[in-house]
């Protein structure tokens, strides 16, 4: 295998693993802020016990997120050194800003969150939780800005010739507020909030079914459902607005997402389907002209299709199409499930309806898969470009790293990450089984 393909596999593997954790941190951060806020307001010790329990989970998630996150930051240099030279002036700034504005804030206040219960008062602890939660979101801001610049580059110019060619910043604000960054940031944050919310709901539902920690369980479900419902409904609008940006700035990507081949014609949307890439058509269930309507607000406006560009400039259509449709399907399912939950809660039947609680328990994997599929859509759909329209992926790779070296590191990453995932799930499961402390004590023993 060649070094480009291996480097892509390694990046995909390491980012997919890493991206299990930050959305939980961001989402759980919000849930923790709500719980500690409720504790400050009501002085009900239940909320303090909840915060104690979820902080422990947060610590576990955070540690693996940090460990796998350092890999991401180093990997641009190790495996994509030409890319790093080419975009360092622009892209590096966003990463450095993430370190300065997000990581220090997050890791500093995390100390108080985890170990400061007896060192500071409840108000200061609440403040620290708020700062950790903000830090996690600031980190999302800068990383999504950096990634969005790869999707819709702006605020730069190209200088130099040949191997000395590179992008340099002309307008930092245009870089930060590039055409897709704010829409994609909102999309990522809403997804992360759902990830945290469904973790809280799932654990709560599990306890209710087992008839354990019922107060804790009910409160977890209620807080989770409110966050889940709000963010999943908002996600509908955010997703729509993101798609319009994609149609404007990355039309070929949108064409791959919906499997539109015709160079210029009104296009439909598929509920699900299979892309017959050889014959350039999609088999499935869909609605004609809906895509034109959705992105242009007019069902007869043509949409740019894949045939408008050479085959070598098209992304892998099947993978983009499937990842996108799976994400949408899961997203719709989560809207439905949170609406159902809220309806039953309103009718006062939620905590007795076992089949819904069972669905809640497994729903925790929904946002996780939607997150992964969403990023696959974004990143596979961007191909064959590493920076859309500017630099091709195969150009970005490190020239001095051999395929053998990358293969060796892929094998190591696979083994280590499989082990970490297993240990994470094992410890999380142990933590959930042990449950929160029943009495209103300061915390359970470590």
């Amino acid at each position: 295998m060649d070094v480009v393909l291996l480097s892509r596999i390694q990046f995909a593997l390491t980012i997919a693993f890493h991206y299990i954790f930050p959305p939980i941190s961001i989402g759980l951060g919000v849930i923790l802020v709500v719980m500690e806020g409720l504790f400050l307001k009501t002085k009900n010790p239940l909320y303090e016990r909840m915060a104690h329990f979820w902080v422990k989970v947060f610590g576990l998630v955070f540690a693996i997120g940090v460990a796998s996150g350092i890999v991401m930051e180093f990997q641009f240099g190790t495996n994509w050194s030409y890319y790093s030279r080419y975009v360092g002036d622009v892209f590096g700034s966003a990463l450095a800003a993430e370190g300065v504005f997000a990581f220090f804030l997050e890791s500093g206040f995390l100390a108080i969150l985890l170990f400061g219960w007896n060192k500071v008062g409840p108000k200061m602890h609440f403040f620290s939780t708020l700062m950790v939660s903000l830090g996690a979101m600031f980190s999302a801001i800068w990383i999504v800005v950096a990634n969005s610049w790869m999707q819709t580059p702006a605020g730069y110019h190209i200088v130099g010739e040949g191997l000395r060619q590179r992008a340099e910043i002309t307008d930092f604000l245009a870089l930060v507020f590039n055409p897709s960054s704010m829409d994609r940031l909102l999309h990522v944050l809403l997804a992360a909030w759902q990830t945290g919310a469904w973790l809280a709901i799932s654990v709560g539902a599990f306890y209710l079914l087992k008839k354990r920690h019922e107060d804790f369980a009910k409160a977890s479900i209620k807080i989770g459902l409110v966050v889940a419902l709000l963010s999943s409904v908002l996600q509908l609008f955010s997703g729509h607005s993101s798609a319009i940006i994609v149609s404007k700035y990355q039309p070929v990507k949108l064409a791959a997402m919906e499997g539109v081949y015709e160079a210029s014609a009104p296009a439909g949307m598929w509920l699900f389907g299979y892309v017959d890439e050889k014959n350039e058509k999609v088999l499935g269930l869909g609605m004609p002209r809906l895509l034109s309507l959705m992105v242009h607000f007019n069902s007869s406006t043509p949409v740019q299709g894949l045939r408008s560009v050479a085959v070598k400039d098209r992304p892998p259509v099947q993978a983009t199409f499937q990842a996108y449709h799976l994400m949408v399907m899961i997203g719709m399912g989560l809207i439905g499930l949170s609406m159902l939950g809220c309806f039953l809660w309103w009718r006062g039947k939620l905590f007795e309806t076992a089949w819904v609680l069972k669905l809640f328990v497994i729903a925790v994997i929904g946002p996780q898969f939607a997150n992964q599929f969403g990023w696959m859509t974004a990143e596979i759909g961007r191909q064959p470009w590493i920076v859309y329209g500017l630099l091709r992926t195969e150009q970005g790779v490190s020239r001095v790293v051999s395929a053998g070296n990358v293969l060796a590191s892929i094998i190591l990453f696979s083994c280590v990450y499989a082990l970490l995932l297993f240990l994470f799930l094992f410890l999380l499961n142990q933590k959930i089984k042990a449950g929160p402390v029943e009495e209103a004590g300061p915390s359970q023993t470590a």
Partner: protein, 340 residues
Amino acid sequence: MHLDLNLIWYFLVGILLTGYAVLDGFDMGVGALHLFTRTDRDRRIMLNAIGPVWDGNEVWLVTGGGALFAAFPDVYATVFSGFYMAFMLLLFALIFRAVAIEFRGKEPMGWWHQVWDVCFSLSSVVSSLLIGVALGNLIWGVPIGADKEFQGNFFTLIHPYSLGVGVLVLAAFMMHGAIYAAMKTEGELHEQARGWVRNSMIFFVAAYLVTTVATLIHVPRMFAAFGRYPALFLLPLVNVLAIANIPRVMAKGKDFQAFLSSCVSLFSLMAIFGIGMMPDLVYSTLDPQWSLTLYNAASSPKTLGIMLVIALIGMPLVVGYTVSIYWIFRGKVKLENTSY
């Protein structure tokens, strides 16, 4: 050489990496000493001594890496791709270190604790050595071609000098960690930590003398700047005085002063390194013309200016949180139910 954005960023990246050495240095050192403790309780105390701060300390490396990427993209690209396997090993060591600290206290079984104790200690030793070997290679120089790319392999990086600097960094971190452990502990463990300070100082001073002599003989360019600007000799003077001050104040039981001295000695060592390297970030052994300098490897002045604004806004806040956290968690370690 006059003060411009490139020079400022050379210093700022240097300060971030020095912050990393001074802060993560002691928790790496605590890790390297971890297995010398006698009981499970002592090991818990060691972990909790660094518990609230190790993660924040590591952020200095992450931010230093990000700043290097932004300010000197060619250096970031050349060094990270050129030292590929070394960096992969460092990444795995850092991963295992982070999870060992977090996982150890999660289960009650003795074997579970032992596995993660070994993991924590080994990964701390390996990380320190690798960081030192990387520094050693930067001092010694590496084969960089006209295209700014590294022209060697993993074994190009392994030679007596780079290994010597690896050992020096390990020894320095062990000394630094031992003093930190002494400062944070009480009773028997405290006495034991004082013993570590003695032994690791001997180890450090020996490694320091050997590498200094080797550098004087083999890498005289590291001292060129000191010949040109004799005022710079203040730095080695401060360095030697700070090191000499450690046993003096330790004997009086002033652990905190010893720790500050140790911080000053690491800081001044990094400063000597940074000034010796100037204007190079990566020295080419093939042709000094091909070295990556703070000019030919840098981002545009516009970007360096924007980054300076970011640093001026952000770094005072960072120093603020760091000082507050260390203040809140000052004093001897007390195990609580929220500890690791």
